[in-house]
């Protein structure tokens, strides 16, 4: 099933439409790691739905990890908004990122010799789906951490994606409770 035939590859400084204004002049995502300053109740960031956003201790927040090493990531998502947001969140953690909007572009990028520490890949993608793209990426010998980050939630999808070679199957959205332990492991902090 093809939703778009355009192949799109972007690096971290050319991803957002001008109107979004989510990037600095250097193309960095607008997030300072020095502070986490949520709006709302006296600066409290913790909330759970259904309890009015009351403060509860959560194990992870975005600013609980500082990377010691240079880490790179590839985001593969056919949805413009999700791709931008995931890429931006990874940049906020300090990763260097690239993104593509279909599975074929991801495979081509890896085949061209590009190496990444982390790949986030959606399941339903234009041109070449995430399962097959993952299979081909693994067949090329790429052993990096791959997270299948998808809106799919069924057990069959989960098994298929894991069988193709992702290390984790994550239902969107990708939160810090999943991402921070992964980044700690990649950064050698574990």
């Amino acid at each position: 099933m093809t939703l778009s035939r355009e192949s799109h590859t972007s690096t971290s400084n050319s991803i957002l439409p001008q109107s979004a204004n989510l990037l600095t002049e250097n193309g960095k995502f607008k997030k300072s790691m020095a502070s986490a300053l949520p709006s709302g109740d006296q600066g409290a960031a913790e909330a759970n739905s259904g309890n009015g956003g009351q403060m509860q201790k959560k194990p992870f927040t975005f600013n609980e990890i500082v990377l010691r090493n240079r880490l790179t990531a590839l985001v593969v998502d056919g949805d413009n908004f999700c791709r931008l947001l995931e890429q931006g969140i990874l940049q906020a953690y300090g990763l260097e990122t690239q993104s593509v909007n279909n599975g074929d572009a991801a495979v081509e990028l890896i085949a061209s010799g590009a190496k990444f520490d982390l790949i986030l890949i959606d399941m339903l993608l234009p041109i070449l789906d995430g399962v097959e793209a993952t299979r081909r990426i693994r067949a090329m010998g790429m052993r990096c951490k791959m997270l299948g980050v998808t809106a799919c939630s069924g057990e069959r999808e989960r098994q298929a994606f894991l069988a193709a070679g992702v290390d984790m199957f994550v239902e969107k959205p990708l939160g810090p409770e999943i991402l921070i332990p992964v980044l700690r492991e990649l950064d050698g902090q574990v």
Binding site: L22, L37, S39, G43, S49, G53, F81, C82, E86, P173
Partner: protein, 145 residues
């Protein structure tokens, strides 16, 4: 006004419109970009509006192409969950289930409900952000290490 803002925010969670993913977005907001969450939500509504239109057009064509409808909704569900749109996400999941069971009536019914939730959330968030801008930036502090 700040108390009013807090009450409004609380109700968005209490009434199930938003989930903790919205809080994660708030954590990315800082002094340098105090309107970050509003900008993300604005981008979401712009992008997802196109998907809604695609689904509407697909539902006008008979027989339904359930695979195409499912693919569109997969995309929509993903971006909705990324801003913490809890009710919208729930309707998206239901729609996809109807696609898989090839239930056209279920799809149409769910889509109407989804559009209502989508529009309601938009209204509530617009009101929230407007009040937030009037209330001014929150005093900030670094988290203790």
């Amino acid at each position: 006004m700040r108390r009013q803002l807090q009450t409004m925010r609380k109700s968005l969670f209490d009434q199930g419109y938003l989930d903790e993913q919205f809080v994660q977005l708030e954590e990315l907001q800082d002094d340098a970009n105090p309107n970050f969450v509003e900008e993300v939500v604005t981008l979401y509504y712009r992008d997802s509006g196109r998907i809604i239109l695609n689904i509407e057009q697909a539902l006008e064509r008979k027989p339904f192409d359930f695979n195409k409808l499912d693919a569109y909704m997969h995309q929509f569900k993903g971006s909705s969950s990324s801003i913490g749109a809890k009710k919208v996400k729930a309707e998206s999941t239901l729609f996809r289930e109807y696609c898989r069971s090839r239930n056209g009536e279920g799809c149409m019914r769910t889509f109407q409900q989804l559009k209502k939730e989508y529009a309601t959330l938009r209204r509530k968030l617009e009101a929230y952000f407007q009040l937030a801008r009037q209330a001014g930036p929150v005093e900030t502090a670094c988290r203790p290490k």
